[in-house]
């Protein structure tokens, strides 16, 4: 019986981490449904981006107020997690504050004091975030796509953080030995008097309860990530590493199209050529994207990484002028559809069974896609280098090349380019007229 808490702890840890690992495998599988794209070049530039943008938060501070507050939560999150290591060792081996012995009073006290101050700061900032989301009139939190679950999700994350920080402070405040030692309790010493009238036994129970709920809360929160927009705390790193490094104006040239165009322009090509004997006639590749499997894996990683902050949408010229398009919604829709496809695969023993739905029309409408000016404001704004524009472009390509479903005026523009090499109906022979006028 003596080892019961240790066993329960080990079990809780194994279940918590095991379940998370299982879901992460599912996440990898879903991301791998995307098409291949090579992002293994320029390693040093990629590492630099990851260190600057994800670790260093360089794009977050472009908006100084929310950026600075975010850094407090972020630094708090990372540093306070050192304490989780101690809790895990204590839980597994039945020790109590095992690091105290290793580190000595001064260093240990300094560390815990830092955690306590950060915990209070995180609590305060999270409260500000909650106020911004729920009471302030900040447009990007009030958009259509933020109604319902996305709003609740955002709040749940904030509640988790408030509760975990509070439990950490109560745990320290009710640790009588720790309080008597008087090291590293700059905050909890003010909470401790609250327990003065309590018996030693009940204070101990409070301490144990706070300790258990604190670590269990962290494990539950870890598992909540997979179901929430909060995955960015992990995926921001690979996402910034694998992000596009070319100039933002450079859109990829579809290779499948290049092959066809070369064939068309090759005077020696045999238009009646049959595939060589014995080779399977390849199914021609679909041009553009109408569903998540037509996108590349980086675009799918982007979708999982998005934390729905809405900086993209708040800088999008189409969104700012009341059009249907919202780059954030493009990312949210892509993830929603990807998860739906993932559940379909789970339910059908590992293969996707056509559900009559796709990303186009069922999630993202042509009206949204055609409202984009390809200005790259969303790409520039994203604090973790998500590229909504590339998804919009791939879906436009599908609309035009597979469905010939461009708006009428664009069809005229394209006909003009085909016939006279200009988007307007002018003769190519008049290309030099501008030199003769004044």
């Amino acid at each position: 019986m003596h080892y019961l808490p240790n066993i329960v702890f080990a079990l809780a840890l194994a279940v918590g981490i095991g379940f998370f690992a299982m879901n992460i495998r599912k996440l990898f599988r879903n991301i791998k449904l995307g098409k291949n794209v090579n992002r293994t070049d320029k390693k040093s530039e990629r590492i630099k981006n990851m260190l600057m943008i994800a670790l260093g938060q360089s794009k977050m501070v472009k908006r100084p107020f929310s950026g600075f507050l975010h850094i407090i939560v972020y630094v708090g999150f990372i540093i306070i997690n050192i304490e989780v290591l101690e809790i895990i060792i204590d839980g597994l081996f039945g020790t109590h504050r095992v690091f105290l012995g290793f580190l000595g009073n001064a260093l240990y006290g300094f560390l815990i004091a830092t955690f306590e101050i950060l915990a209070v700061l995180v609590f305060v900032v999270v409260t500000i975030f909650w106020t911004r989301r729920n009471l302030s009139n900040i447009k990007r939190f009030l958009s259509k796509e933020m109604k319902g679950w996305p709003k609740r999700d955002g709040n749940i994350i904030l509640y988790f953080e408030m509760v975990i920080m509070t439990l950490f402070l109560i745990m320290n405040a009710s640790d009588t030995v720790f309080q008597q030692a008087g090291i590293g309790n700059p905050i909890s010493q003010f909470i401790a008097p609250f327990f003065d009238g309590f018996s030693l036994a009940s204070i101990h129970t409070i301490e144990r309860t706070a300790w258990w709920f604190h670590i269990l809360g962290i494990l539950v929160f870890l598992n909540y990530l997979f179901y929430s927009k909060h995955l960015h705390i992990l995926l921001a790193f690979p996402n910034t590493y694998f992000a596009n490094l070319n100039p933002k104006g450079q859109f990829n040239n579809l290779e499948s199209v290049t092959n066809e165009v070369k064939l068309m322009m090759d005077p020696d090509a045999d238009p009646y050529a049959m595939p060589a004997e014995g080779t399977e006639e390849a199914v021609p590749e679909k041009f553009g994207a109408s569903d998540v499997a037509d996108l590349n894996w980086v675009q799918l990683l982007n979708a999982y990484t998005c934390t729905e902050c809405g900086r993209c949408t708040s800088s999008c010229p189409a969104s700012l002028t009341g059009k249907e398009l919202s780059p954030r919604k493009i990312m949210m829709d892509t993830r929603d559809r990807l998860e739906e496809v993932g559940r379909n695969i789970d339910a059908n023993k590992g293969t996707f069974v056509d559900d009559g739905k796709q990303l186009l029309n069922d999630y993202i409408t042509p009206e949204e896609l055609w409202a984009c000016t390809s200005c790259n404001a969303c790409v520039e704004e994203c604090p973790v280098n998500i590229d909504p524009l590339s998804i919009i472009m791939d879906m436009r390509r599908y609309l035009v090349m597979e469905e010939s479903a461009a708006p009428q005026e664009l069809n005229s523009m394209m006909t003009n380019i085909e016939n006279n090499g200009a988007p307007w109906q002018y003769s190519q022979q008049d290309r030099l007229n501008w030199t003769k006028e004044e």
């Binding site: 100039p247 189409a318 009341g322 200005c375 472009m393 390509r397 005026e409 988007p423 030199t435 004044e438």
Partner: protein, 259 residues
């Protein structure tokens, strides 16, 4: 105005130092043609040995590509590349950031590798080489704001060349609240120029014009023929034609130097 073509040059066995890619707007749009002429005046004034493709120039395919028609884009690209490579073109300058972006970034993997300059970069080089000096007295003290074209700014990180030239004009440059990497689009990019906007509560060019008007300018400077059209329309919508003009940087330089 005498503008040599590559065909003329070739017939005389000459190779110009740079090809001026005029672009569809610069060739056909009445407003943009003035920009082309202003830039040619600067080239002539600076003794630049240049040529245009003339009737051999065709759409870069930028608008087609952004509209989603990759086929048409690549057809245009390969045709143009064949012409450009046939003339052994190495260096290209253009007043159109869309052509600039497409020629510079999207032609190379299709076999067209060129050194491509936006005209503001090219003019900057002319100045640093001592071939051009901008007169800073004519426009002295004018209130100017600069609208960043998306395909020059965010798309290719060119923010300083146009600003450097504007400062050399001796004018008073005031930035809009949204500038450089956070600049708002004029509304023309991504083939929007050629269609009506989707349903919304405002036109993008009007919103951007309001950004510009907040700086109380006499001149809105741009470096893109499409931005120019959008901002000019915005000024008309706001009924400010009497107080504010929209000018390309090339036009301002031509005006300052009385070309």
């Amino acid at each position: 105005m005498n503008v040599p073509t590559m065909a003329d040059m070739m017939a005389q066995g000459k190779q110009p130092e740079v090809l001026f890619w005029v672009g569809a707007a610069g060739s056909y749009d009445d407003r943009a043609k003035k920009i082309s002429r202003a830039f040619v005046k600067i080239l002539v004034h600076s003794n630049v040995n240049f040529a245009v493709l003339g009737t051999e120039e065709s759409s870069t395919g930028d608008a087609a590509k952004r509209a989603g028609n990759e086929f048409l884009f690549q057809m245009q690209a390969m045709m143009n590349i064949e012409v450009l490579n046939g003339y052994e073109v190495k260096k290209i300058v253009t007043c159109d950031p869309h052509s600039f972006n497409t020629l510079k970034n999207e032609y190379s993997s299709l076999g067209g590798k060129y050194e491509v300059f936006h005209h503001t970069q090219f003019i900057q080089n002319l100045i640093s080489e001592g071939r051009l000096k901008i007169d800073d007295t004519v426009l002295k003290g004018k209130r100017v704001t600069f609208h960043d074209p998306c395909y020059l700014g965010r798309a290719n990180d060119v923010y300083e060349s146009p600003r450097d030239l504007i400062k050399r004009l001796g004018v008073n440059l005031t930035e809009m609240k949204r500038n450089k990497s956070s600049a708002l689009c004029c509304g023309a990019g991504g083939a929007q120029m050629f269609k009506d906007a989707e349903k919304g509560d405002k036109e993008i060019n009007v919103l951007r014009t309001e950004d510009a008007l907040e700086t109380n300018p006499e001149i809105i400077a741009t470096g893109c023929p499409y931005c120019n059209t959008m901002m000019t329309d915005g000024i008309k919508f706001k009924e400010k034609e009497a107080e504010v003009v929209v000018k390309d940087i090339a036009e301002l330089i031509a005006e300052a130097n009385n070309l």
